[in-house]
C-alpha cells in the first residue's frame, strides 16, 4: 500500500510534481525533499499537480510555506493545479488562495509561468 506518491516531469523549464495519496506529517518530508532537489538545481519554476491527492493536513501545507519565500526571491513560483474540492477546501479554510496561484489545469499554470 503506497500511501503517498510523487512523480516529477519537466515541461519547458517548469518542474511539474504529480502528488497522490495522503500528504500528512508522515509523508510531508518526501515532498519536502522532492522540492529541495529541484531548488538544488537552481530551478525555481515549480508546478504541483494535485489531481491524485486525496488528503492534506497542515503538515503538508507547511511544506509549501517553507519554500515559497526563497523561490519567489529567485523570481520563481510554486503554482498549483487540479485540486479536488476536498483539497481546495483545506487551502481555502486557511486563506491560501490569496497567497498561492491555484488554477484548474496544468495548461493554465504553464501559461501563467510563460506570460
Amino acid at each position: 500500500m503506497e500511501n503517498f506518491t510523487i512523480n516529477r516531469e519537466e515541461k519547458g523549464g517548469i518542474a511539474v510534481l504529480y502528488i497522490g495519496g495522503f500528504l500528512d506529517a508522515h509523508t510531508a518530508p518526501e515532498l519536502e525533499s522532492a522540492i529541495q532537489k529541484i531548488i538544488d538545481t537552481e530551478q525555481f519554476k515549480i508546478l504541483v499537480n494535485f489531481k491524485e491527492l486525496s488528503y492534506i493536513s497542515s503538515a503538508g501545507l507547511g511544506v509549501f510555506m517553507g519554500f515559497i519565500e526563497n523561490i519567489r526571491n529567485h523570481d520563481g513560483d510554486i503554482k498549483m493545479s487540479d485540486m479536488t474540492p476536498k483539497i481546495f477546501r483545506v487551502f481555502d479554510l486557511l486563506g491560501f488562495p490569496t497567497l498561492y496561484d491555484i488554477v484548474d489545469t496544468e495548461e493554465e499554470a504553464i501559461e501563467k509561468f510563460n506570460s
Partner: protein, 170 residues
Amino acid sequence: MTNTAEKKKQQPIAPKLEGEYTLRIPSQTDNLELIRGFVGKVADKVGFDAEEVNKIELACDEACTNVIKHAYSKDNKESTLDIVIKVDYQKFTLVVTDHGKGFDPKSIKIPDLKQYLAELKVGGLGIYLMKTLMDDVVYDINPGKNNQVTMVKYFINAQDSELHDKGKEK
C-alpha cells in the same frame, strides 16, 4: 479572498449509532492514516455527510500530529496516543490524550490569518484548523499525567438546547 466563515452544514438530526469507541496506538506519524481511517469510519456510521467526515478526520489528525511532534521526547519508545470517541444523542465528542510534557494552551496565539500569510510562517496552523473545523475545542493539561484536547460537533437538534450551552461553558 480570505477564509470564508463556515456555514453550518446539515448535520444528522439523530446519530445512527451511540456509544464509546477507544483507540490506543503508538505515537508515531505512520499511524496517522490508521487513526484517520478509524475515526472517519465511526463518523460516517454516525451519519455525518462526507464533508463533515473529512473535517472530523482532519481535526483529529491535527491533534494527533501535535501529540506525535510535541508531547514526547524523541527517544521515548513507550509513548502512546489515546483517542476516544463518544457519541450521544446531542453530540459527537473526540478526545485526544497524551501522557507527555504538556504545554500552556493560553500561550498559543491563534494566528491572525492575514498577518500569518504575510509573514510566510511555517506551522502553527494546527490548533487554528481544529477550532475552525469543530464546534468546540477545549484543552485540559496535566503535564506528565494526561493532556487532553476535547473536540465536539453538536447535532442540529441539540444546537439550541440548554445542555449544549452547558457544554460550551466548560
